[in-house]
Every structure is written in structure tokens, then in C-alpha cells.
């Protein structure tokens, strides 16, 4: 079994430690928990990439790579994630666990030191970030923002979130917008960096064979130059209970051969903090979250209305989002059928096999989280963003107890908010 503990290294700096000897690697991550805002999202997203370019001790990528190679294929990646209305920016690292280095050399301490150095001692030019690094990474960020259009399935879901939550923080993309990216300067980014270091809560995660004391010591040492920051705060997440009376409709035309239909529902205030959350998870699984769900079995398999159809949850914001790929002319049919499937759940048309199957899949997916370090990290980061301390076992036990009536009840609180349709041009 995994042994896990959460502790505060200093005010606003938290460590989630998970000890296990199951893996060949150790996993260490650091996240600054920033509020998601249009004005700062692009700068926040850019920051870890600029920091990753070079530190005083490892001033360019080649020297960083050499250090990582010598740690037996260590990796340290800038990451930007959105958890509710929190933008989590920082680094994830993974490296060969001490137990498997051919020369038995230690890897945790040097990796923690490298992480701290990249975060706290960047290469400076006239007191701010290197203009070359900022310009280069800004171009990369801008092309990543522009490239979001390449993957139409994800693009449709992203547009859905933007249209549905216009005016809410959640409507801001995790990478920010092209406009706010264009306004970034080395000086502005430097100010943003100093603010983040002082104002944000910091979430650290470790999973590997090392005992808690050793991890704390390595991290305290690596972060000794972190600014004091006595009132680090954790961002909130606004939850809208209801959809507008008439659903919003948005359409876009592009030169594609397959259409994308995305539909967003408000969950009527049911979120990760509510007692009904396990029932909401079950609803999503029965409705569209698995390959035995109503959307998959009926809309895709039985009626061949689309190539794929699935649903997913945003657990903090209280959203249920459907994603599907369809032929353009099947738009109405597919939309109506997706709504009809939700109606079927509301009417209690859930076979015992469907309920139990969904339960097994959701619990099984949760339990396998324990078998992958990156998934554990993702889970605990989500819990941290939500301010929750409950673990995977606890949630699995809640899921065991969900009844069909509870699923039906929670299905009744879903309200269709927005429909987004990506269609072809002209013909």
C-alpha cells in the first residue's frame, strides 16, 4: 500500500508525499497556484518555459540536458494546468529512482536542487529575464495558442468552454489569449514572476521510495531562497447554478471533412464539494463517460450518428460537457439524440448492468490512479486546488454506495447551457 501524508513546509508551501517502491522512477512536482485571469494567464503560462531555459548554475538548455542525462534520463517539464479557476504553473520532474541507478548514485537531492535552482535563480539581464529567452519562449507560446486549432476535437471543447463561460474566469484558456500574450515584455514578465513567488500558494508533490524526512530536507534545502510571502492565498472557484433560459448557440465553419458537436451543461451546483458528487461521477459514466455509456452504445453504435460521442466533467466548476464528431447534415439528429439519452437517465431508464458496469469502471479508473505516478500527482493537485484532503480510497467507498435514485436525481439538475457546432465550409 502507498503511505501518504500532507504537510506544510512553511506558510503556504505544501508537500504531498507518497511513499512506494512500485516504480522505477521518482516523481517530483512544484506548482504555483495562481488565480485564472485574462490579464495574467498568458504571462503565467509563459513563465515556467522561460525558467526552464536556464539558471545561473545551468545557463542554457544544453547544460540542463546534460545534468538530466547524468541523472539517468531525468526529465523536468514546464506545465500549465487549469483546475477549476486555478491556473497551476510550474514543473513536473521524473527521474530514475535511486534503487535502479547502476552506480547506486542518489538522484532525489540533485533533482530537487535543480528544480529549486530553475525556479529561483534564472539567468538575468539588467535585472530581469533574458530578452532572448523571453522572446523565444513567447513565440513558442504564441504558436501553441495558434496551434490549438489543429486538433479539432479539443478545439471544439475549448471553444465550448469559452462561449459557455464568457465573463467567468473559467472561460479563459489555460494558455491565455493571443492578445494578452502579445503584450508580454521581459520587464512585465519579471514583475509577474516576483508577484507569483510571493503571493501564490505552492504545491509540491513527491512519489518514490524516499522517506518523508529525506524529501522534506531535500526540498527545504532546494527552496531556501524562496521569498517569505506571509499571506499566500488560494484562488476561489465561482459556481453558477443555472443555465440561461434559452441555450446559447455558436457555430463556426472550417475546411474539415468531419463536423464537431459539443454541448455544455451546468450541473445545478453539484460539484466536488457536494455530497452528491459521487452520484454526479456515476451519472457522467452512465451518460457518456465510458464505452458502455448511453452515448457510446446508442448514438455511436446503434444509430451510427457519430464517430465518437463522450462526456466529461469539470468537477470544481460544475460542468458536464459532451464531445462528438458527426457528419454535418446529422447535426439536428445527433443533438436531439444526445438530449434524448440524458432524458432517458432522468426517466430512470438505467439497467442494473449499466449502473454496476459504470460503477466498476469509475472505481477501477480511480484505483489504477494508484499505479501511475503522474496520475497520482494529477489527482492530488486537483484535491489541493479544491482544498480537499480526502484520498482515492475514500472516494471509491462513496461510489460503492451510490444508488440509481441518486443518479436520477442528479440528472434532473443538469441544464443545457451552450451548443457549439464546428461545420464545413459551403458544401
Amino acid at each position: 500500500m502507498n503511505d501518504t501524508k500532507r504537510m506544510q513546509l512553511r506558510p503556504g508551501v505544501w508537500l504531498r508525499w507518497v511513499q512506494t517502491e512500485k516504480f522505477k522512477s521518482s516523481f517530483l512536482s512544484l506548482n504555483l497556484m495562481a488565480p485564472l485571469k485574462e490579464e495574467t494567464a498568458a504571462a503565467n503560462a509563459l513563465l515556467p518555459s522561460v525558467l526552464r531555459r536556464g539558471s545561473v548554475g545551468h545557463p542554457d538548455m544544453q547544460r540542463i540536458t546534460a545534468a538530466l542525462d547524468n541523472l539517468y534520463g531525468g526529465m523536468i517539464e514546464p506545465v500549465v494546468r487549469k483546475k477549476g479557476e486555478t491556473q497551476c504553473v510550474g514543473f513536473v520532474t521524473s527521474f530514475l529512482d535511486d534503487a535502479f541507478t547502476p552506480d547506486r548514485s542518489k538522484t532525489l537531492e540533485p533533482m530537487a536542487a535543480l528544480l529549486g535552482e530553475l525556479l529561483l535563480h534564472p539567468v538575468l539581464e539588467r535585472g530581469v529575464f533574458s530578452a532572448e529567452y523571453v522572446t523565444g519562449e513567447l513565440e513558442n507560446l504564441q504558436s501553441r495558442i495558434a496551434a490549438q486549432i489543429n486538433d479539432k476535437r479539443r478545439y471544439a471543447m475549448q471553444r465550448l468552454a469559452a462561449v459557455m463561460c464568457e465573463g467567468e474566469a473559467f472561460g479563459v484558456d489555460r494558455l491565455g489569449s493571443a492578445e494578452s500574450a502579445a503584450a508580454i515584455t521581459p520587464e512585465g514578465l519579471w514583475r509577474r514572476y516576483r508577484e507569483l513567488l510571493c503571493e501564490c500558494e505552492i504545491e509540491l508533490f513527491y512519489c518514490g521510495s524516499a522517506p518523508l524526512e529525506r524529501v522534506c530536507q531535500a526540498l527545504n534545502c532546494a527552496l531556501k531562497d524562496l521569498p517569505e510571502g506571509n499571506d499566500r492565498t488560494q484562488p476561489d472557484c465561482e459556481v453558477r447554478l443555472h443555465a440561461p433560459r434559452e441555450p446559447r448557440l455558436a457555430e463556426e465553419a472550417m475546411n474539415v471533412t468531419q463536423g464537431k458537436l459539443a454541448m455544455g451543461f451546468r450541473t445545478g451546483g453539484v460539484t466536488v464539494w457536494e455530497q452528491e458528487y459521487p452520484a454526479l461521477l456515476m451519472l457522467n459514466a452512465i451518460f457518456g463517460g465510458t464505452t458502455m455509456s448511453k452515448l457510446f452504445m446508442n448514438v455511436r453504435e446503434k444509430l451510427s450518428l457519430c464517430y465518437y460521442a463522450s462526456s466529461m466533467l469539470e468537477k470544481m466548476k460544475g460542468l458536464l460537457m459532451v464531445s462528438s464528431g458527426i457528419e454535418f447534415e446529422k447535426y439536428r439528429q445527433a443533438r436531439d439524440e444526445i438530449l434524448r439519452q440524458l432524458e432517458a437517465v432522468r426517466q430512470g431508464e438505467i439497467e442494473p448492468g449499466e449502473l454496476e458496469g459504470a460503477r466498476r469502471i469509475v472505481i477501477s479508473a480511480l484505483m489504477t490512479t494508484l499505479d501511475a505516478q503522474d496520475q497520482m500527482e494529477e489527482f492530488w493537485l486537483g484535491q489541493a486546488a479544491a482544498g480537499l484532503d480526502t484520498g482515492i480510497d475514500w472516494l471509491a467507498r462513496q461510489l460503492e454506495a451510490v444508488t440509481k435514485e441518486q443518479v436520477v436525481k442528479v440528472a434532473h439538475s443538469m441544464e443545457l447551457d451552450t451548443i457549439y457546432f464546428l461545420k464545413g465550409q459551403e458544401g
Binding site: 512506494t20 517502491e21 512500485k22 516504480f23 522505477k24 522512477s25 542554457d60 538548455m61 544544453q62 540536458t65 546534460a66 538530466l68 542525462d69 547524468n70 541523472l71 539517468y72 534520463g73 531525468g74 527521474f95 530514475l96 534503487a99 535502479f100 541507478t101 547502476p102 523565444g136 513565440e139 513558442n140 504558436s143 495558434a146 496551434a147 486549432i149 489543429n150 479539432k152 472550417m254 475546411n255 474539415v256 471533412t257 468531419q258 465510458t290 464505452t291 458502455m292 451510427s304 457519430c306 464517430y307 464528431g325 457528419e327 448492468g353 454496476e356 458496469g357 466498476r360 469502471i361 472505481i363 477501477s364 479508473a365 484505483m367 489504477t368 494508484l370 499505479d371 505516478q373 465550409q425
Partner: protein, 427 residues
């Protein structure tokens, strides 16, 4: 039951060949929640022309993939559904020379294994369901034809190879799959799904003896015969053409640069060839090299850049690609660097560092059961055991890598494939 241990890797492998000729490999993984089972046929998109019962047959392009979709149909219903209802996440894929079916589950492992073995070994096709599948796969083909990464890769294959079947898409075309009938599927199943042409790999906290006895119970008692395949004449060493370009809805030009190598070797030599190929890429244009730093700095490549060695029976190549404003400049820089390395030799310090890095990454890859089982199946089909990589790794010399670079990375063996943004009507 034959047992092998790999102490440096903390791994154990149990092997048994059943009387019907099926080889079974089990990797015991105490402490893990999930189990993974991978059941594969040595049969893929390349195997369109074959000899069965003394008669040469030309089957339509895409039949292996089509068969994979239809294998899930059973007389009682659908195996995908049975597995999902049992809490397993099933899936399948078809490659150029392998078709694999697998599931991961945290409970009811034995029951799920029975389901897997039985639906893959018992064909059940009706003309009606084949007709319906033509629609679904037609949609899938439409979707991948919209995918710029797929287009840039397939165009590269056609530019590198004169007639090798790797030039054709595994899924076939809407036209080619229209010729598939239920009878085609029965014929191909008979030709390639005999136990002696298959392998079963399992990883998890399971009893290897139980796995073998379940397989013995469910699978046919006879080894069956394996069809002889025809991949056409030997390929000439030179690339067919040096440049190909397409226009699609992308934000920045995408490219794949390929170097046509010697054909794939069998057995441990093939494993060594793959390692040499991977190390050659790392030494020429990997993240640790001066060339990578230069290209990144000039903005000619970005984080999307990736590279590696690929092989299938009858072919092997190196490739590197991603987004670039000027793919031709990347090609020129790579060829120049290859000439420099041929002249000056590989740097010893970089070699030691890269070797450490690549080794550590390979060991960390063993965290993934999927990676382990699929690699063992592929290596088994080419006549070796995956985990032998650790021992082989030690013996590889810098000179061997240099020889491969000198032989393969040349102007005549090189093709460049580019997908450019559309000039008009783009976003």
C-alpha cells in the same frame, strides 16, 4: 515454466509455450492494483498478399484493421461491452505488422482474460455487421485524413519507399474497404490468428500458472498453419524522392524528415539495430546535442520536435519532425551535422552522457505495463526478449553508432515531407 530474472531492472519474466504453439509471457508485479493482458497476432496492415492452403490471395488494403474492429463481435453480442461491464478498459490497435487486443483491469482478471482469449480466437461475422462497419471505419478514415500529423507521415513513407507496403495506410481507403466481405474476414482470421502466430503477454499481480491453464482451456488445441506473406521486391537503398508538400488547415508548417535505412534485422541483432538507431538520433539531433541547441535557438524547431528509429519487416528508417517555419533549413543543418560527425567522430563525453540518459529512460519506461507487454510481443515476433536491452546496452560502442550514422544519414537516403498552411481561406 521457464523463469528469467533481470536483477538490475527489478523484473522477472515467466515463459511457457503451450502445446498449440502459443507463447505466453508473464511479468509478475506485486503491489499493483491493475493487471494488463495483451493478446496479439503477427499480422498487420502490411500483410495484404499471402498464401493460404496453397493459394495466393490479394486482400484489400485495410483488412487487418477492419478485422480488428469486427473481432469484438461475438455470437452473443459484443466483447467490448462484456469487458467494460466487468470493469475492464479494453482496446485494440493495428500496426503494420501486428494486431493487438488488450485490457487493463483491477478486478475479475481471470474472467476478463477468458473473454479476451475467446473473442479473439472465435470469429463471428455477418454481412450486415460488415456493411455497417464500413460506415464507421469510413468515418475514421475521414478523421485521420484531416489529421496533419498523419498526412505528413504518410507522405514521407511514399517519398522514401518505392513499393514497400509501409507506403499504404493501415486503415486502407474508403474505396479499398468497400471490397471487404464477411468471407474476407474469415479468410484472414484463418490465415493469421492461429495460436502459433500469436503471443500473450500479461503484467500484474497474477499467477503465471493460472494464466497458462486458462489459455490452454480456451484456445484451440491445434497450432494451425501460418500463411506465407509477400512484401514485394527488396527496396533500393535510395529514397524515391527528396521532397513532398501538401497544404492543410494548420497554423504553422509541419515536417517529417526521414532517412531510409537497411532493412530490419531479426532476433537480438534487430534489437541492437533499434538501439543503435535510437542512439544515432540522440547523438545527431537529440536534445543534448549542439545541433538541437542551434536549431532551437534559431527558432527552426520548437517543443513539438521529436525523433526516433522505426522499423517493420523489410524496412527501417530514422525520422525527425515537428513544426518549423523553414523545414528545408532543418534538413540542410541535419545533413551538414551528419557530414561533420562523419569527419570528426562522435564526442566521447557526450556519448557517455547520452548513453546514461537513454538507459535511464528505457528503465523508467518499464513503469508502464502496456509498454512492457507490447514491446515484448513485438520483440518476440522478431525473435528476442525485450528486457535483454539492459545487457545489450552495455556492449554498444560509439563506433557502431557512428557507422550507422555514416551509412544512413546521407542526401540520397533522405526525404522531407511538409504540410503547409493553406494560402487562402485559412483562419
Amino acid at each position: 515454466m521457464e523463469q528469467r530474472t533481470f536483477p538490475g531492472l527489478g523484473e522477472r519474466m515467466e515463459h511457457q509455450m503451450l502445446e498449440n504453439g502459443l507463447d505466453i509471457f508473464v511479468f509478475p508485479k506485486p503491489g499493483f492494483q491493475k493487471c494488463f493482458a495483451f493478446f496479439a497476432a503477427h499480422y498487420g496492415g502490411m500483410d495484404t498478399r499471402f498464401c493460404l492452403d496453397g493459394q495466393w490471395i490479394d486482400s484489400p488494403a485495410g483488412v487487418a484493421h477492419f478485422l480488428e474492429h469486427k473481432m469484438f463481435d461475438t455470437e452473443q453480442g459484443n466483447a467490448l461491452q462484456d469487458l467494460a461491464e466487468n470493469g475492464a478498459s479494453p482496446n485494440a490497435f493495428t500496426g503494420n505488422s501486428i494486431t493487438g487486443y488488450y485490457f487493463e483491469s483491477t478486478q475479475h482478471f481471470e474472467e476478463n482474460l477468458r473473454t479476451l482469449l475467446s473473442f479473439v480466437s472465435i470469429p463471428w461475422f455477418t454481412q450486415e455487421s460488415v456493411d455497417k462497419e464500413q460506415g464507421i471505419i469510413g468515418q475514421e478514415i475521414g478523421m485521420i485524413e484531416d489529421d496533419p500529423d498523419w498526412v505528413v507521415f504518410m507522405n514521407l513513407m511514399k517519398e522514401l519507399y518505392a513499393h514497400h507496403p509501409v507506403r499504404a495506410s493501415v486503415a486502407g481507403t474508403v474505396e479499398s474497404i468497400s471490397h471487404i466481405t464477411a468471407q474476407t474476414l474469415y479468410t484472414c482470421h484463418k490465415a493469421f490468428y492461429a495460436p502459433s502466430n500469436m503471443v500473450l503477454c500479461v503484467a500484474g499481480d497474477v499467477d503465471a500458472q493460472r494464466v497458462c491453464s486458462i489459455a490452454g482451456e480456451i484456445l484451440p488445441k491445434q497450432p494451425g498453419s501460418i500463411a506465407q506473406r509477400d512484401y514485394g521486391a527488396k527496396e533500393p537503398p535510395r529514397a524515391v524522392g527528396d521532397y513532398v508538400e501538401a497544404e492543410m488547415e494548420v497554423s504553422a508548417p509541419l515536417f517529417q524528415l526521414g532517412f531510409k535505412g537497411e532493412e530490419e534485422l531479426r532476433g537480438p541483432k534487430g534489437q541492437r539495430q533499434e538501439m543503435l538507431g535510437d542512439l544515432a538520433c540522440e547523438m545527431l539531433l537529440g536534445n543534448s546535442t549542439p545541433l538541437y541547441a542551434e536549431l532551437y535557438q534559431k527558432g527552426l524547431i520548437n517543443q513539438s520536435f521529436s525523433y526516433g528509429y522505426e522499423s517493420d519487416p523489410g524496412c527501417a528508417f530514422l525520422m525527425a519532425g515537428g513544426e518549423s517555419p523553414d523545414p528545408k533549413a532543418v534538413r540542410q543543418a541535419v545533413l551538414e551535422e551528419a557530414r561533420r560527425l562523419a569527419r570528426e567522430g562522435l564526442d566521447e563525453a557526450l556519448w557517455q552522457q547520452v548513453k546514461k540518459g537513454v538507459y535511464g529512460i528505457k528503465v523508467q519506461g518499464l513503469n508502464s505495463f502496456e509498454h512492457l507487454c507490447i514491446n515484448q510481443a513485438q520483440d518476440f515476433f522478431r525473435g528476442c526478449d525485450y528486457l535483454d536491452f539492459a545487457a545489450l546496452f552495455d556492449q554498444i560502442t560509439r563506433e557502431e553508432v557512428q557507422n550507422l550514422l555514416q551509412g544512413w544519414v546521407t542526401q540520397e537516403r533522405c526525404s522531407l515531407s511538409v504540410v503547409r498552411p493553406r494560402k487562402e481561406g485559412g483562419q
